[in-house]
Amino acid sequence: MYKKLTIDGFRGIKHLGVEDFRQVNLIVGENNCGKTALLECLFLLTGPTNPQLPLKINTLREFGVVDENTWSVFFNKLDINSDIKLSGELDKPKEERILAIKPSMKSATLSMTTTDKKSIDVGGSYTGLSPVMNGLILDYSFVKGRDKRSKKPITTKVTATDTGIEFETPKDYEEALRGVFINAKTVSGDMGRRFNEIQIRKQTDRIVKVLRQIEPSLVDLSLGADGIVYCDIGLDRLLPLNVMGDGMFRLVSIILAILDAQDGIVLIDEIENGLHHLSQEILWDAIFESAKEFNVQIFAATHSIECTKAFSSSYSRIGKNNDDIRLYRIERNGDDFRVVSYDHEILEASLDSGWEVR
């Protein structure tokens, strides 16, 4: 479980430190304060030797193209000369993870025809060609348990070549921590596979029970050969989950992600998306219960006050005062970032007074 995160030089964040993470963490703050970037950093730290992740988080932001602009967007103010450093502290088991992200450069070469050469006028100001950034180098180091020294860094690389994208992955390292990132646009991606896992574990009933709070006529869920999850609502035919409404679909995708990420982390951006405010307490109930049962740490981001209230009131009912939730508001003032954290008691006091926590 993550306890602490420090971000230096990633996207819009020059420096940001967050401490005292709990099992379920809700991130709030104004637009462009770094909520999504924080989730992305946790995602990268959770798969630090997977060089596909930087491109994946760009794709989640609907920036899936790979061109000369792809690589610099990870760096604060697009300054590729200052490296990105992400560090996270975990406990149970104790571990410190450090991920440094650097630009991968290649020398610019020109292949010119005789005609081209004639047309180039280098004049007196010509100083040579600059190296071109063609990817990222990810240096991962970690300290486990009581070790004082980190193991030899593991370097992975993602580069764009003339023929496509190349990923250099380590041969002798396997990541044990699981991480799943869900955002508002995430659709069925892994839903079929995840649902299949749940069916095999005979846990379909758990999801049906939660969904019945939104759709009382739901009898059962099943996976079609086409990879689509189908709902039995007592009609002659099964209905694809996709047509049952955004709320049901969103709820299932989040619960499946938690069950799939056992002993790992789930990151959910814009968690309120697609859910009526009355359904948000149902979602939080399901999150608190399944996060506890499957030992999953949750990081979610929202803009919604209804979602924040549902987070707090759901925990009041089922949290058993274990002090295992936090709300963090990220405040940004130019290049300065500040994190304000709320435990459940203080969050309740703030909401009771009608004081803005977002």
Partner: protein
């Protein structure tokens, strides 16, 4: 949403801190009282916020210092009733502040030299026991209505089940003797029934001088 005083004007709380000087008080009545006092003292850049009664201080004071806008606050004045023990009230607020990594003042009715500067005033000031009502009553000690009030309280104290908090009963009786109805000390302050120029408020005025 409760009421808040922003720059000497009562309004519905928007939920965010807007001014750089904040006065945290124990209830809505105190918001009304300090709103009137700030106007009287011509302090225009302070806001007064209700952090609930003493039992709520433990969670509402930490909530206040987390409010959006608190990072721009330069002075935080906390006003609490002494009730039965001024030292205990002072220590209780200091402990809450320390838990929030804030620097409390060394003595009551003074401000710390930290940023933000934090002051704790224990009502009625210079007394081991008491509350806002005690202070208000002191400001009108010479008022002709006090003769009626004392007679009423003398009578009421002889009842089998007399008023439990004498100061509150006395303040209510005084307000009942005023030309227009004022059902609380805060509303009384808004109507100008307490003497805000009284020497009895010297301690409080001196405490609030830093907010000028």
């Amino acid at each position: 949403m409760g009421m808040v005083s922003i720059g000497g004007k009562l309004e519905r709380d928007s939920g965010s801190i807007r001014l750089c000087k904040v006065i945290a008080v124990e209830g809505t009545d105190e918001v009304y009282f300090f709103d009137a006092l700030l106007r009287h003292l011509k302090i225009a850049d302070a806001e007064v916020r209700d952090v609930g009664g003493k039992d709520q201080f433990k969670s509402k004071l930490p909530a206040l210092v987390r409010m959006s806008g608190f990072s721009d606050v330069r002075f935080l004045a906390i006003i609490r009733d002494a009730d039965s023990d001024a030292d205990a009230a002072f220590d209780s607020v200091r402990n809450i502040l320390r838990d929030q990594q804030l620097d409390p003042p060394g003595q009551m009715n003074q401000f710390s030299n930290s940023n933000p500067g934090i002051g704790i005033f224990i009502m009625p000031g210079n007394s081991d026991t008491g509350m806002l009502e005690d202070l208000c009553l002191k400001t009108v000690g010479e008022h002709p209505a006090m003769e009626c009030v004392n007679a009423f309280i003398d009578c009421a104290s002889g009842l089998n089940d007399p008023p439990k908090i004498a100061a509150k009963a006395k303040a209510q009786a005084f307000l009942a003797a005023m030309p227009k109805i004022a059902n609380s000390v805060g509303v009384g302050a808004q109507k100008g029934y307490w003497n805000l120029d009284s020497d009895e408020l010297d301690n409080l005025r001196s405490f609030m001088d830093i907010l000028r």
